[in-house]
C-alpha cells in the first residue's frame, strides 16, 4: 500500500505543446516573413522578441539537451563536431551537439539547419561567448554576432555600477539588432516582455518553493520538462501564463491534497548539475526505494529568480505586479531586466566562489528537507559542475550522506551505466540502508 496518492500533471501536455511549437516556429519563421535569431537560455530574449513583426529565437542549451535525449543523433552530431570541425571531445556536450548539427546542416527537429538572421548571445562561464561564435564560423561565418557579458558579480554585490555595465551593453545590443534587421525594437513589446520575463522566472521559483512540502509534489524528472519553457522564451506571454496560471496553481493544489510525485516517498534527495539526459531511468530505479530527487540549485534557478531574505532563507523573488512596479519606459525596462537577472539568478553565484555554492546549496538542503544528496559530477558542463567536490564536503559536514558519480549530461560515451548503477545500488542499500518498497 503506497504512502501517498500520486498522479500526473494536468498541464503536462500544454507544456509539451508549447515546446513543440517553439522549435516549429523557429524553423518556419522565414516562410512567414519572420526573423530568426540564435541565443542562449540566458540571453535576454525580451529584447530581440520586441522587434517589430514576427520573431523567433533558438535557445542553444535546450537545443543541445534535446539532442542529448536522442543517443543516435547525439553521437553522430558530436562526432561531426569532433571530426569535421576538429574540436576537442571534452568540450561542453551541448555545444558539440549544436556544432555538429550545424556542420551536418541538420536540424534535430527535421530539415536542413535553419540559419539565423542574427546572434544575440550572452557570456557567463568562460566559453559561452564561443558557442555561437564557433557555430557561426562552422556555418559559413556570415551571421551578425552580438554577445553581452553578464559576469558582473554575485547576486549580493549587485549595485548600480554592475547594472550600468549590463544595461550599457543592452543598449548597444538594441542598436545592433535594429541595424542588422532593419526593424525597430518596439517599446510596448519590450515592456510587456519584461513583465512576462518576471512572471516566468518568479512563478517557476514559487513552484519550486512548493517542493518543500512533504510529500514533494514534483520530482526532478518532471521539473526538467517544465523549466525548459523558461529556457526557450521566458518573455513569451503564453509561457508566462503557463507558469502563473496553470503550473503554479496546479502544484499548489497537489500540496494541499498531499499528492506526491513519488507515492512511496521515504527519502528526499538533493541533486546537483544537469542529469545525464540519456539515462533518466536512474530516477525510476531510485523510486523503487521510495527515493525522490526533488531539489537542485540548477533545476530551481536555471530560470527561477530567488533571493536570500533577511532571515537568510532562500525565497522566490516577487513579480513586478507584486512589487507594484509599473514600467515607465525603455530605460526602466532594461534596468529591471538586468537587475532581475543579476540579483535573482542564484545559480550564477557559484561562478564567483565555492563559498557561494556551499552556502546556497546547504540552505536548499535544509529548507527543502533533504535526507541525502546524489551529485552528478558532470563532465559535460564546467559551469554547473563548479565546486562540486567542495559541495560534497560541505554537505557531509551537515551530516547528509552524499554520493557522487561521474557522467556527462549529453554525451553517452562518457557515461558508464553499469558502473554508476553499482555505485547507486551500494549507496542506497548500504549507506542509506533502504529496502525496495513493495
Amino acid at each position: 500500500m503506497a504512502r501517498y496518492k500520486t498522479k500526473g500533471l494536468d498541464c503536462w501536455n500544454k507544456a509539451k505543446e508549447l515546446r513543440d511549437r517553439y522549435y516549429k516556429d523557429y524553423k518556419e519563421s522565414h516562410d512567414r516573413g519572420g526573423l530568426r535569431w540564435e541565443g542562449g537560455a540566458w540571453s535576454f530574449d525580451a529584447i530581440p522578441q520586441a522587434l517589430e513583426g514576427e520573431v523567433h529565437g533558438l535557445s542553444e542549451e535546450p537545443y543541445g539537451a534535446s539532442i542529448g535525449h536522442i543517443p543516435e543523433l547525439q553521437v553522430r552530431y558530436q562526432e561531426a563536431a569532433e571530426g569535421k570541425w576538429g574540436c576537442a571531445r571534452d568540450l561542453c556536450s551541448y555545444m558539440r551537439a549544436y556544432w555538429g548539427s550545424v556542420a551536418l546542416n541538420e536540424y534535430a527537429f527535421g530539415g536542413a539547419w535553419p540559419h539565423a538572421d542574427f546572434i544575440f548571445q550572452n557570456q557567463i562561464c568562460c566559453c559561452h561567448s564561443k558557442w555561437l561564435q564557433v557555430a557561426d564560423e562552422i556555418g559559413g561565418g556570415t551571421t551578425p554576432y552580438f554577445c553581452f557579458d553578464v559576469g558582473a558579480g554575485p547576486y549580493d554585490k549587485i549595485g548600480d555600477r554592475q547594472i550600468d555595465y549590463v544595461v550599457g551593453q543592452l543598449y548597444d545590443g538594441i542598436e545592433f539588432i535594429e541595424k542588422v534587421t532593419n526593424r525597430k525594437v518596439i517599446d510596448e513589446k519590450l515592456i510587456q516582455n519584461v513583465y512576462n520575463t518576471y512572471r516566468s522566472n518568479c512563478y517557476w521559483a514559487k513552484t519550486c518553493e512548493l517542493n518543500q512540502a512533504i510529500p514533494a509534489p514534483l520530482d526532478e524528472k518532471t521539473m526538467f520538462s517544465l523549466y525548459v519553457l523558461g529556457t526557450l522564451e521566458k518573455s513569451n506571454q503564453a509561457i508566462a501564463d503557463f507558469y502563473e496560471k496553470e503550473l503554479y496553481p496546479e502544484v499548489k493544489d497537489r500540496v494541499a491534497d498531499k499528492i506526491a510525485a513519488v507515492a512511496d516517498e521515504q527519502c528526499r534527495v538533493l541533486g546537483d548539475s544537469q542529469p545525464p539526459w540519456g539515462f533518466l531511468r536512474i530516477y525510476r530505479y531510485l523510486e523503487q526505494y521510495g527515493i525522490v530527487s526533488m531539489a537542485n540549485l540548477y533545476t530551481f534557478s536555471l530560470i527561477g529568480w530567488m533571493m536570500v531574505d533577511k532571515k537568510g532563507d532562500i525565497v522566490p523573488c516577487p513579480t513586478l505586479e507584486e512589487q507594484g512596479i509599473t514600467i515607465k519606459d525603455r530605460d526602466h525596462a532594461l534596468r529591471l531586466l538586468a537587475e532581475g537577472e543579476l540579483k535573482g539568478k542564484l545559480m550564477w553565484a557559484p561562478f564567483y566562489g565555492a563559498t557561494y555554492k556551499n552556502d546556497l546549496v546547504t540552505k536548499i538542503a535544509k529548507q527543502w528537507r533533504c535526507d541525502a544528496a546524489i551529485i552528478h559530477l558532470n563532465r559535460g558542463c564546467e559551469g554547473t559542475a563548479q565546486h562540486q567536490m567542495q559541495l560534497k564536503i560541505a554537505l557531509q559536514g551537515m551530516g547528509i550522506p552524499v554520493m557522487t558519480f561521474e557522467g556527462n549530461m549529453a554525451d553517452e560515451r562518457e557515461f558508464d551505466e553499469g558502473r554508476v548503477m553499482r555505485l547507486i545500488e551500494l549507496f542506497v542499500t548500504e549507506t542509506l540502508g533502504l529496502k525496495k518498497v513493495a
Partner: protein
C-alpha cells in the same frame, strides 16, 4: 642572467621567503591569472607572485577538483594543499576561466591564507562599458588593498607601480625582438624562462637582470644551429623539459603566445591622468585570453591576427599549438586558429599537455613535425 632566471624560477619559494625577510612591511600576494593588475600591488609595496604548478601529478587536488578539470589548475591547488605556498599573505584572482576560478575557490576553503580577493574582471573587453566597469572594480580593489596593508595608495604610488610594470614589459619585449634574427642569440626555453622568472620575482630586481641580459646578448655565442624556426601558442605553459627537448632535436622556438610568455607582457599601459582608468584600459586592450576574445559584429577573434603577425615577423616555419588538457577556452579557439595559420602558410602541430609530459610520445610527434617541415632535404 639566464642562470639567475632559471635558478630563481626553480627556487621560487625561497625567493619569496627571502624577499619577505628583506621587506618586513611588504606582503607577498599569490595571483592566479595574468589579468590581475600587479601595478596596484606594487603601488602597495606588495610582491605579486604567480601561482604555478609543480609539474607533479596533482594527487592532493582530486578530492577538491575531480579529473575533468585542467591539470594546471589542479596542480596549482595541489601545491597549495601541500603547503608549498605557506608564506603567502594573500591570494587574488581576476575573473578568467572556470578551471582556475575553481582552483581559487577550493584554495579559499582549503588552504589557510590570511587574505583573498576575487577581482571581477569583465569579459566584454572590447566595449567601453567594460573599461568603465573595470575602472570601478579597480577602485574597489585599491580600497580593499589599502585597508588590508593599512596604507593609502597615492597617485605617486600608482605611477611607481605602473612604471615598474611598463619597464619590465618594455625590456622583455626588447629581448623577444632580438629573436627575429637568424640563429637567435637566446633560445625559446631561455626567453620563456625569463618571463616565468618575471612572474615570481620582484620586477625591480628582474628589470636589472633583463637590462644586463640586453647588454650581454650581442656578445652571446650559442654554438647551435637554429634548425627549424618554431612558434609555440596556447594556454598556460611553463614546461621546460618539453621546450628543451624540442630545442635539442633540430628546432628553435622564436616566438610564443602564452600567458606565461608574450601575452603576459606584450602591451604597456598608456598613461592617463586617471591612473585607474589607464590601468583598466590596458587590461581590456591587451592581447586577450580566449575567455574574453569575442568582438561585437562578427565571429572573428581579436587574438588571431596578432598571432599570425607574430608568426610572420618572427619568420616561423611552423607552429606548435599546445593546450592544457580540458582547457575549454583554448579548445574552442584551436580548430579555428589552426585553419587561419595554415591558410597563411604556417603548418601546425597540436599537442595536449598535462602536468607531466610523456617525453617519448611527444618527441616522436615533434621530430616527425620537424621532418615534415624540412621534407625537401630528404627528397631532393
Amino acid at each position: 642572467m639566464i642562470e639567475e632566471f632559471k635558478q630563481w624560477y626553480d627556487d621560487r619559494h625561497s625567493y619569496a621567503k627571502e624577499w619577505k625577510k628583506n621587506n618586513s612591511k611588504g606582503k607577498v600576494v599569490g595571483y592566479f591569472c595574468t589579468y590581475v593588475p600587479e601595478e596596484i600591488l606594487y603601488a602597495a609595496d606588495c610582491l605579486p607572485v604567480r601561482i604555478l604548478g609543480g609539474h607533479e601529478p596533482p594527487a592532493l587536488a582530486t578530492p577538491h577538483m575531480f579529473d575533468m578539470w585542467c591539470p594546471f589548475s589542479r596542480d596549482c591547488l595541489s601545491q597549495g594543499l601541500a603547503g608549498k605556498y605557506d608564506y603567502l599573505d594573500g591570494v587574488i584572482i581576476a575573473q578568467s576561466c572556470l578551471h582556475i576560478r575553481q582552483a581559487f575557490g577550493a584554495w579559499q576553503l582549503q588552504v589557510p591564507t590570511p587574505w583573498s580577493y576575487y577581482l571581477c574582471m569583465p569579459n566584454a573587453v572590447t566595449t567601453l562599458h567594460a573599461k568603465k566597469f573595470l575602472a570601478g572594480e579597480l577602485a574597489e580593489f585599491k580600497k580593499a588593498v589599502e585597508e588590508w596593508v593599512g596604507k593609502t595608495i597615492t597617485d605617486a604610488d600608482l605611477d611607481r607601480g605602473i612604471d615598474i610594470m611598463n619597464t619590465n614589459r618594455r625590456l622583455m619585449k626588447l629581448v623577444y625582438q632580438s629573436r627575429k634574427e637568424d640563429n637567435p642569440l637566446i633560445t625559446g626555453t631561455e626567453a620563456m624562462t625569463m618571463v616565468w622568472a618575471s612572474q615570481i620575482m620582484d620586477k625591480r630586481e628582474h628589470n636589472v637582470l633583463v637590462e644586463q641580459l640586453l647588454r650581454d646578448l650581442p656578445n652571446r655565442r650559442l654554438d647551435r644551429d637554429q634548425g627549424v624556426r618554431l612558434m609555440i601558442v596556447g594556454s598556460e605553459h611553463d614546461d621546460r623539459p618539453f621546450m628543451e627537448m624540442v630545442e635539442t632535436i633540430g628546432a628553435t622556438f622564436v616566438i610564443d603566445d602564452h600567458c606565461t610568455g608574450s601575452r603576459y607582457f606584450w602591451d604597456e599601459i598608456v598613461t592617463l591622468k586617471d591612473r585607474l582608468q589607464a590601468i583598466a584600459n590596458r587590461y581590456c586592450d591587451r592581447v586577450p585570453c580566449p575567455t574574453k576574445d569575442f568582438k561585437q559584429g562578427t565571429w572573428e577573434r581579436k587574438r588571431f591576427p596578432h598571432i599570425i603577425n607574430l608568426a610572420k615577423e618572427y619568420r616561423a616555419h611552423g607552429a606548435v599549438l599546445i593546450q592544457q588538457k580540458f582547457c575549454d577556452p583554448h579548445e574552442c579557439d584551436i580548430p579555428s586558429l589552426r585553419r587561419q595559420l595554415e591558410d597563411n602558410g604556417i603548418p601546425c602541430y597540436f599537442l595536449e599537455f598535462e602536468v607531466t609530459v610523456p617525453v617519448g610520445q611527444f618527441r616522436i610527434r615533434i621530430e616527425a613535425f620537424i621532418e615534415q617541415l624540412r621534407a625537401d632535404e630528404l627528397f631532393d
